[in-house]
Structures are given as structure tokens and as C-alpha cells.
């Protein structure tokens, strides 16, 4: 609004106030819609989501999400960085499952450049993706339960997640900002210690999920606050382009791991979990069941992990191992060329997506043949899923908003890019 119209508006209000008695008299004080500003700093909005809510008493009439409080311009940064330089930035997209973002990004670059990775690398990436899915769903289920009042669940799920972060630590050297993948492979190999730790985790995991479920399955308060809350019909969910557990909880069995297979998922035996209710409770149980399926995939992948190289043999595009870089001339040249000039994928544009824990995580890359992408679009699941929020909260109570945001499980780092 321009400053002039703002001024005329103010002077009009002032004139109106001067003309008459300023005390407000309403026939019915309850006949007013109230606009409430929720966030961006609010513990239940899981980050910096801001919601403008129009209320009639305690009932939500309308809600408008406002994004952009964590916008860092990653797509602009990507255009000015080489393909390798952007890998650490992908950690900061969905910061609850950084390692699967790494995988999703390098898969897109490999598709663009036409790099085929060895079988062992594919298996390690499957392990990474599924560990990330469990870790992310543990936070999602725990924090959703906490939002509706069951604090214990959060503590129990975080205890489990801690074990996964310890595996990340051994595997990648970092607990959160993993930056583990490289174009054509990984930075380090999967070690026997990781196998031992993962097996120990999987042994206890089944019982731990059971314990968490036991806390909630017959919990009257939890069920009352989630059942039928945030219902959106299946057709509307599809029309809004929602993906991931939200879409599956509405009865649509869409899972890119099965439908558009990538990595070594065709060799894995797992079920696509769906529910019919499309409410907060259904989303919660879809996530719980998906964790069990992920554990199933982890068991198969760790048992069948093939031997062999964990990085593709393509010297023009794939970084050499650290050891030979310091001792051999060819590898030093290769490292120098890849760092300074970059992998030059041919001119073209591709779209590549994975099923991340929140939904479809896609990268649309336009290459002009140089070492930096001409344009890179990040298709983040959280942003699209948040679009369904106004539909979910409309007609509900204001306290339901908290449960609904928990059931969407948005990560603002990803939604705002």
C-alpha cells in the first residue's frame, strides 16, 4: 500500500473518531471474527511457519499460511556454485533427514551427467535413505504426540533417534550436517562397525516402537484429539498435489520407491502403507507402520550388502579417493580439474525425484554444459503439503491446529528453501 493511501485512510479514521463518541458499543460482543497471528515464533509451528487464523469464538473460519521466514535463496546459490559445492546446502533443506536429501540431490546430478554407480553404492544409499526416514518419522510422531500433550513419547522416540545419529556419526563424521554423498558415490565406505551398530539398533527397535504404540493406542486423550481432526477428502488431497504419508493416509498407495523405482529398491521386499481415514490419527499410524517397513528394508539391505567399490569409476566426473590424491599425479590432476572446473554435464534438463520421509523430493536441473547448473529448482514436499493446511483446519477448533501441524510434519528449512 502506498504511503499516500495509508495517510488518507488514517485521516478518515481520525475524522470518524472525532465526529462521534469513541466508546465502542456492540449489540452482541460475540458476533465478531477475530484474526489471530500464530507464529513465526511459536513452539507448535515446528520452526518459523506463520499462520493467520480467522476465528469465530474458538472455531477456525479461515487460515492463511505465510512462508519465507527461512528463505535463504538456495536456488540462486546453486546457480553460482559447482555441483559438488551444493551438496552441503542440501543438508539444510530438510534438516531432520539430511542424509536422504544428499542422496536425492546426487541422484539428480548423476541422471543429468549420465553416471552409473556401483551396486554397493546403491545399497549404502538405500541404507542411508531408510535410516533417515526412521529418524525423521521418530521426530514427527514424537513431536506430534507432544503437541497434543503426551510428552513421554517424544523422549522415547528421541532416545531411539539418538542411536541412528550415532551411526551417522561413525559413517559420515557428523550427526546432523552429514554431506555424505558425492556425485558418483559416497565420501566414505560403509564399515563393519556401522553394520554392528545398525543391527543392534534394529534388534531393539521393534520393541521400542511397540512401547510407543502401547502408550498411545488406547490413550483416550490422544485419540480424542486426533481422530477425525484435519480431515480432507481424498479428491481434494490429490488436487492439492500433496505427497508422502499424507497422501497415503488418504488411501492413495503412491510411493516412488515402488512406482518409479530408483537405487536398489526393486530388490527390496516392503509394503506401501495406506490408511483410509485421512485424519491426523491415520497419518500418525501410517508413519508408525512406515518405520516398521523401513526397518524391514534395512534388515534386507544390510544382509545383502554387496562387496565392491563404493564410487563409480568415471575420472572425468567423480572425485578421486583422498589417499591417492595426495600421492599420485593423475589423481591430483583429476581432483584439481573437478574442483576448479567441475563436472561438465551435457546440455539438457532433467527432473529426478526420490520418496523422502515427507513426500516427493525432486530436483529439476537445467544444464548449459558448464560446471555450474544454469537453473536448479528444488521441489520440496513440505511446501506443497502445507498448502493443504487451510483445508485441514477450516471448521475445527483452534487447539486442533496444533495437532494438524504435527500431523503434516513440515520442516521449514525445506519449505522455504
Amino acid at each position: 500500500m502506498s504511503s499516500r493511501s495509508e495517510e488518507t485512510r488514517k485521516s478518515k479514521i481520525l475524522a470518524a473518531l472525532e465526529d462521534q463518541d469513541t466508546s465502542v458499543v456492540l449489540d452482541d460482543p460475540l458476533e465478531n471474527a477475530m484474526v489471530l497471528n500464530m507464529g513465526p515464533q511459536h513452539p507448535a509451528t515446528h520452526g518459523v511457519l506463520r499462520l493467520l487464523v480467522k476465528l469465530d469464538g474458538e472455531t477456525v473460519v479461515a487460515a492463511v499460511p505465510e512462508l519465507g521466514y527461512l528463505h535463504r535463496g538456495y536456488e540462486k546459490i546453486a546457480e553460482n556454485a559447482s555441483y559438488h559445492e551444493f551438496i552441503p546446502h542440501t543438508d539444510r533443506l530438510d534438516y531432520l533427514s539430511p542424509i536422504s536429501n544428499n542422496v536425492g540431490y546426487v541422484l539428480a546430478v548423476e541422471k543429468l551427467a549420465g553416471i552409473e554407480i556401483p551396486a554397493r553404492a546403491k545399497y549404502i544409499r538405500v541404507l542411508c535413505c531408510e535410516m533417515a526416514r526412521i529418524a525423521s518419522h521418530l521426530v514427527a510422531t514424537g513431536s506430534m504426540a507432544m503437541d497434543v500433550g503426551a510428552l513421554t513419547v517424544l523422549l522415547w522416540t528421541f532416545r531411539e533417534r539418538e542411536k541412528l545419529l550415532d551411526i551417522y556419526d561413525v559413517l559420515t563424521g557428523a550427526r546432523f550436517t552429514t554431506s555424505y554423498t558425492r556425485v558418483g558415490g559416497m565420501s566414505q565406505d560403509w564399515t563393519p562397525q556401522c553394520t554392528t551398530m545398525l543391527k543392534a539398533f534394529l534388534e531393539e527397535f521393534e520393541q521400542d516402537v511397540k512401547d510407543v504404540e502401547k502408550l498411545l493406542r488406547a490413550n483416550r486423550i490422544f485419540i480424542d484429539r486426533c481422530e477425525g481432526v484435519g480431515f480432507v477428502p481424498r479428491e481434494r488431497i490429490v488436487a492439492l498435489g500433496v505427497t508422502g504419508p499424507l497422501l497415503r493416509a488418504a488411501g492413495v498407495p503412491r510411493d516412488l520407491r515402488r512406482d518409479v523405482p530408483y537405487l536398489s529398491y526393486p530388490e527390496m521386499d516392503f509394503d506401501v502403507i495406506t490408511a483410509a481415514e485421512s485424519d491426523a490419527l491415520a497419518r500418525f499410524y501410517v508413519r508408525i507402520a512406515e518405520m516398521r517397513e523401513s526397518a524391514k528394508i534395512l534388515r534386507q539391505a544390510v544382509a545383502n550388502l554387496p562387496e565392491g567399490p563404493f564410487r563409480a569409476d568415471a575420472p572425468k566426473q567423480v572425485l578421486p579417493q583422498k589417499g591417492p590424491t595426495y600421492t599420485r599425479m593423475e589423481e591430483l590432476i583429476q581432483d584439481f580439474m573437478l574442483t576448479n572446473i567441475g563436472i561438465d554435464p551435457p546440455v539438457g534438463e532433467i527432473y529426478s525425484a526420490i520418496e523422502s520421509s515427507k513426500g516427493e523430493l525432486g530436483f529439476y536441473i537445467v544444464s548449459d554444459g558448464t560446471g555450474q547448473p544454469w537453473r536448479m529448482k528444488i521441489r520440496s514436499p513440505s511446501m506443497t503439503n502445507l498448502q493443504a493446511l487451510p483445508d485441514m483446519v477450516r471448521g475445527g477448533m483452534i487447539s486442533d491446529i496444533v495437532a494438524i501441524i504435527g500431523s503434516i510434519d513440515p520442516v521449514m528449512g525445506e519449505a522455504d528453501k
Partner: protein, 161 residues
């Protein structure tokens, strides 16, 4: 459903609206006449043999060329067909208006807002065309190639000391 099937199916009804197509690494992208995008989108969604019912993304690209500087790409997914498809329209710098597909897929709403925010491309018929990420009073379009990486000084109001 292969790429050729989709092309044949669309050519049967929309031959005049399809300008060209490209295939790269298995991805099919169909370039559609800008004025006809809503019609083509309707067909692509409602034809039971295609059924691209999920809008995955709508994005802009600044190609930085004299004619048809911008491109708008629609990434679609078919739940029954289990595959992706890209539609593309070319946008001239002078007009910068594209018909909105929010009437076909309501989920395109925020994606079109983001494209407007980043490139200044207006979507005709959009119910609520506001900036999505940048502040309302921001005057530039950050993902255009002529916008510098470091930003433009004083373009964003900062808190007073």
C-alpha cells in the same frame, strides 16, 4: 505408458497446440503453445489414458535469450500411470503473462506464486497472486539472471538502529 504413447495421444487432440517436444535421459518434455496451456492441461488430467492428476511443480527458468526469454515448466505425475511428464510454455519478456492452471490443479497455487515471486511472470486468473517468499514491498525478481548474487543494496528494509 511410454513417451511415444503420450505424444501420440496428445497429438491426436492437440496437434495444433504442441510446438515441439524433447526427450533427454528418458524424460519427456512437451512444449505447448502458451495460450492453449489450460486446454492441454485439462486433457492431460481428464483423459483416462493419461490421468496426470498430481501437479508436482510449476517452475520458471530464465534462459537469458533475446526471444522467449522465460520458460515455465509444469512437472506432473500420474498416480495410475506411475510416471512423470513435463509440459513447457515459452514466455516473452514483453508480455510476461501466462494463463493460470489453478483451475485445473488447485495445488499449482503456491508454485505459481513462487514463480511470480522469483521471475515476475504473472499468472492470469490466479486467485491470490502475491509474493510467496520475498516481502511484499520488494521490487526485484531475485532468480532472474540480471539480479546479482549479493543482492541490491537497500532493496530490503532493515531494522533501524
Amino acid at each position: 505408458m511410454t513417451n511415444d504413447d503420450i505424444l501420440a495421444r496428445l497429438n491426436a487432440t492437440h496437434a495444433a497446440n504442441i510446438l515441439s517436444h524433447q526427450e533427454y535421459r528418458g524424460d519427456l518434455t512437451i512444449v505447448v503453445r502458451k495460450e492453449a496451456i489450460v486446454k492441454v492441461a485439462m486433457t492431460v488430467r481428464d483423459d483416462p489414458a493419461l490421468a496426470f492428476d498430481l501437479v508436482i511443480d510449476v517452475l520458471g527458468v530464465d534462459m537469458s535469450r533475446p526471444e522467449n526469454r522465460f520458460e515455465v515448466v509444469y512437472v506432473l505425475y500420474s498416480i495410475t500411470g506411475r510416471r512423470h511428464l513435463c509440459l513447457k510454455v515459452l514466455v516473452d519478456e514483453e508480455t510476461l503473462v501466462v494463463p493460470s492452471v489453478t483451475g485445473v490443479w488447485p495445488g499449482a497455487n503456491w508454485h505459481e506464486r513462487e514463480t511470480f515471486d522469483m521471475f515476475g511472470i504473472r499468472f492470469e486468473g490466479h486467485p491470490d497472486l502475491r509474493r510467496l517468499y520475498m516481502p511484499e514491498e520488494f521490487e526485484y525478481y531475485p532468480l532472474r539472471k540480471d539480479f546479482p548474487l549479493l543482492g541490491i543494496p537497500d532493496s530490503l528494509p532493515l531494522p533501524r538502529r
